[in-house]
């Protein structure tokens, strides 16, 4: 591992990518296309997201020989797709409605969950197993988690993807999505709690 946290294997990939090796690029697309779509969707909306991501992949391919590794490869790619979506948004001169703000706060953030003095009214559910490895062995639960990630409001979905799936820093996420630090933190917290409630429900009922 060097200071960028890259393994030698990843460095080999980067060397191949910089000379525009098709097989390496295909792997890169396979690995990040869905996440790139999540970023674009949150900025420009569903209808234009695919188009923006296609253009971003072309830009990334063209710019790879000049990639200087000042940030990690994925941060660099997410920044490119974020910027292209923002540029496109300005050209379209329309605003994409942000449904995230209106979301009703059920579950852990609802006032009904706590007594007036702030203590638990309805305590957290008991889980049969609590370790990520054991939880993930349950196929039906994985299915429920996947389903709930796909149904998150788009900006929450993008923030959650960048932070908890792709391990991007909060500062990078603000930059990629063009969202303030306080907003990113609120959206991330809501997404995590929604996901946790999915597991609560599964533990209690065996269903999504």
């Amino acid at each position: 591992m060097n200071s960028m946290g890259l393994t030698t294997e990843q460095e080999d990939d980067i060397a191949l990518l910089k000379v525009q090796d098709h097989r390496a690029f295909e792997n890169l697309v396979g690995r990040y296309h869905i996440q790139m779509l999540a970023v674009a969707r949150s900025i420009i909306g569903e209808s234009l997201a695919e188009e923006v991501v296609q253009e971003a992949w072309v830009s990334i391919y063209g710019a790879l020989p000049r990639f200087e590794q000042r940030s990690s490869l994925k941060t660099w790619m997410f920044t490119i797709v974020g910027n292209q979506a923002k540029t496109r948004l300005r050209k379209e001169s329309r605003t994409v409605s942000m449904e995230d703000e209106e979301q009703d706060e059920s579950g852990y953030l609802s006032s009904g969950r706590f007594k007036p003095n702030g203590g638990w009214q309805s305590v957290p559910a008991i889980w049969d197993v609590e370790t990520p490895d054991l939880l993930l062995e349950q196929t039906q639960l994985r299915h429920c988690i996947e389903h709930s990630l796909n149904s998150l409001p788009v900006t929450q979905g993008a923030v959650f993807t960048l932070r908890d799936i792709e391990q991007q820093s909060l500062a990078d996420i603000c930059n990629i999505l063009g969202v303030s630090d306080s907003n990113v933190r609120v959206l991330l917290h809501r997404a995590r709690l929604s996901l946790m409630q999915v597991i609560d429900r599964y533990q209690e009922t065996g269903e999504c």
Binding site: E26, Q54, W57, Y108, F114, W120, P124, L136, D164
Partner: protein, 78 residues
């Protein structure tokens, strides 16, 4: 004394180490005394840890092909 509802509100900032040290300390003090918030935070952390393995999705062959088609078009223009 910190309220349970406040522990829940600050849970993300707590696990991301985004809180001033005294706020973090208040949560730790609360956790020493509150079994429900301990369980809440255990589950909350497990949820975050399983996000990556459970949430990562590979693009389909069709999706990859569509991108590579554009790349091939560009390469043949040069």
């Amino acid at each position: 004394m910190l309220k349970c509802s406040e522990v829940v509100e600050q849970a993300s900032d707590f696990v991301d180490e985004n809180l001033p040290w005294y706020s973090s300390l208040r949560i730790k003090m609360h956790l020493l005394m509150c079994v429900h918030c301990r369980r809440f935070l255990r589950h909350f952390s497990a949820t975050i840890d399983l996000a990556e393995p459970a949430g990562r999705r590979q693009a389909t062959a069709t999706e990859i092909e569509r991108v590579m088609k554009h790349i091939d078009d560009i390469d043949s223009d040069i």
